[in-house]
Amino acid sequence: MSDFFKVIALRNLTLKGLKKISEDLALGLSIQEMARIQSYFRNLGRDPTDVELQALGQAWSEHCGYKSSKIYLKRYIFGLNSEKIYSQGDAGVVLLDENYAVALKMESHNHPSAIEPYGGASTGVGGILRDILSMGAQPVAVTDVLYFGINKYRDYPSPAFIRSGVISGIRDYGNRVGIPTVSGGIYYSDMFSPNVLVNVGCVGIVKKDKIAKQSIDKEGIKLIIAGGKTGRDGIHGVNMASANLDSGSANISTVQLGNPIIKEPLIHAVLQANEAGLIYSLKDLGGGGLSSVVGEMLYSGGKGGVVYLDKVPLKERDMLPWEIWVSESQERMLLGVEEQNVQKVLDIMNDWDITSAVIGESVKGSKLTLYYKGEIVMDLDLDFMTSPPLYQRAYRLKYNEYKFDMPKERESYNDIILKMLSDLNVASKEYAVRQYDHTVRGNTVIPPFTGIIGKEGPTDASVIRINWEDYSAISVSHGSNPFYSKIDPYMGARNAVDEAYRNLVSVNSIPLAFSDCLNSGNPERPERMGEFISMIKGLSDEAKDLGVPFVSGNVSLYNETGVKSIPSIPTILAVGKLKDYRKAITPDFKGTGNPIYLIGRPGIEFGGSLYFRIQRKNGGRVPFSDPKVLYQRSEMVLRAMDAGIILSSHDVSEGGLALAIAEMTIGSDIGAEIDLTGITVGRPDFFMFSESQSMFILEVQKGKEKEFEEYMKGLSIKLGYTGSQMLDVKFNGKTLVYLHIDQIRSKWKEGYI
């Protein structure tokens, strides 16, 4: 018997004994799961090796196995508008036109970022880039939606420390790999202290006939590992991400910082090999390491395989077989390559100075066999290994009583608007985003901020062109609102989809695809599970009638610490398309004397709204979204945009239409004169600050009012005109708002420059 692996005598153990094994080896498996393993090996008539148990521990973790969520994802998300999905794997792909397709995916890196914010966030970016690369796609945009706490919670790291680490991590990784970080969001609330959420996304472009496949359905395909070497870093990362965050118990072996300078050439090399048609199948090494990726690649193609663990290039010479097999070292890709192409692939890697090695191959059958120094250290049925038990956990749905505290009416809303503009959730995010290179690759048509140089305001979606030859482009944006989700996870999810969709429409693009990153608490608690299910159902109900598929996604559970759990919050990454990017539209006002229109009508639904939040009042129900209404309005808006009569556009989100208009003045030096007399009869503040869904503000070319109103079929409300340097809102002869643009801009930019 060798000293580099152990046989674990498990067939005769009691349940208690099984539990101890799971704990001793840090497998993260429950007693029932261990019992299932026990009976499998009883049937085989032998005991497992440590390598085998570790492999199962990885494959059956929540993170890899989606044990708690799969049933609901299947029921509500998979299959939804799926005829529009072109390909699915590590990322989802939809077609853009006859030649090109777009790949997208959003993923969480919450747990690692809570322990080591810099490394957690940077390896998050690294991981999501690999997912896009796995489709054979050139990454063209990185995105990040971040949720930070405000006040320190007990002895957990301070939110300021976490924030600066996370932002630096995204900056240093994204900038160094040379992919622009162009879109995202930053939310602040003590819901996220200490459970910070770091959701990162990536979008890539691939020629439709070059999409890499992720399975091996043929024997004799060689397995090549390329990129970073394998070390002890990141062992058991998935187990950590599948458990609650306990104070101070950071397991050091799971902390990684990432190395973008290996990733950068790796992207070039893999894409070059793919373009040359040398790759048979492609996957990245993420959670679960080799164990998970080799297993999935073979299993999905119905083949077995052999891997020689001693052929894996190592950082540390004395690693044990099980460590090599489950290590989550960064910057690694697995390539399936036909024998005759192996040398060519190795040569390309060498040209780019990248370590690579052949480590095994696919074989007939359904077994995965691992060798180390000539001995078999694992011999498992892939069928057993890759099908963890699925759980239909107990759940309890949330029934809310909605409280509504009536705010008082005011003479002037100047102070309210200034306060809203400097609210952490609304104020300019330039302190972070301007540290991200958003113009690298030279394809950024609409960046995160536009307007007069030095005075730029926020945009709704970023636009990235496909190439230098024609005028087609994609748009990238997000939707999320943790304040709605906290009150009503179902409607919060629907509104997140609404926001993502209308952001895309706002720049004159047609929404094509969503990726969903689902963040929640401990699924073993019925209330949490109930919220989680409501959230998924909300996403499904909303997206269905919009006709947009969820092409990819990710689930992060156990974002919970002691008595504190996050609500169930979805982050939606959305991608749209522009046939002609020269028609893209930004929010900054373009001229004076142009009519300003509102599309939609504000309702009294203030749950989670900024207006009520800054007054510390309960706002009742959260806004309601009707996808049919959103779809219809969007169609009309897009038609008017195509006709060239819309000069600027902004969707209405936090702070309602008043804030949307204020934001449109920021990048422009052009004010707005609004008169609500006759437009609303109720309280003008409710009209101004309502966050009712599916609304847009449009600046229309003067003289084109009639034409515009025809496009809108009577669904538009003319609010006033652009002009002067003031935001001026009147109602029944009284002036409700009178603010100079410089005041608005400097409040919004407070803290930056």
Binding site: E116, G165, I252, N259, K315
Partner: protein, 76 residues
């Protein structure tokens, strides 16, 4: 008082910068170099005489105990 704080990565945390420098030195022909680790150094001038302040700075700002080691020295 003038204190010197040195912040380095723990041994088991990979040092991408050190790796890049090692590679560069090798490319320059220095094959005798076998390992490079990097760190940051802060020279802090302050009133008072209490070295333990330095550890506070580490704790609150300069280092992350999960990945870093902090060394505080007095410099005359």
């Amino acid at each position: 008082m003038r204190i010197i704080i040195t912040v380095t990565l723990k041994d088991n945390v990979e040092d991408a910068e050190g790796q890049s420098v090692l590679k560069a030195l090798r490319m320059l022909g220095y094959n005798e170099v076998s390992n490079v680790r990097t760190g940051k150094i802060y020279y802090i001038e302050m009133e008072g005489n209490d070295l333990s302040r330095g550890y506070e700075f580490c704790d609150k700002l300069l280092a992350n105990p999960v990945i870093n080691i902090c060394k505080v020295e007095k410099n005359e």
